[in-house]
Amino acid sequence: MALYLIDLPFAKIGLDVAKRDSEAKVVLIQDGVYLDPTGIENVYAVKEDVDKRGVAAKLGNAKIIDYDDLVNLIVENKVVNFA
């Protein structure tokens, strides 16, 4: 399964590609946590980035993960870089 690492500058195309992958896991990282993840089933957001920006309440059903979790996701999935 593919893990899409997505930051703000490449957000539109990154999310659009992820939406075409029924097994996509999307990780919002850095300024990517400002994105609206509506319409994507498996969304993660990096806790440190979320906390700094104060956007936890806006991320809907995104799972908030730390760097340990992200390392696990990277190891377990194919990585697609949009960050």
């Binding site: 990096v46 980035d49 760097y67 992200l70 390392v71 960050a83």
Partner: protein, 117 residues
Amino acid sequence: MANINFLLTEGPFQTEKWSTAAKLGAAALKKGHAVTFFCYLDGVYNGLSTQEFADWEKVPGDYFKELVDNGAEIVCCGICVNARGQQSGKFFYEGIKVGGIPDWAAFVGGADKVVTL
């Protein structure tokens, strides 16, 4: 255990990519994964041992020194190092190497995962 390569193309301070990369690398090392870094373009400035910034307890270079101390391999693009006036990396932390894209290719060839920042 996996082998993870990080490509880092931005320098310290200006953007937060150095921080994300360093923290992810540290977390991966702690879990016992093999970690390699290729610092490309402005990414090479992260290797400097001479950073001084009183506002912060630790400067970016300290994080990269710790990565090396904890077993990460870090290679900086030599063309980028010299283009950016950093004199073959003579002020880099010991253990942070200057090399070339072939080194990066070797890292990627041996990696299970590649993360670009």
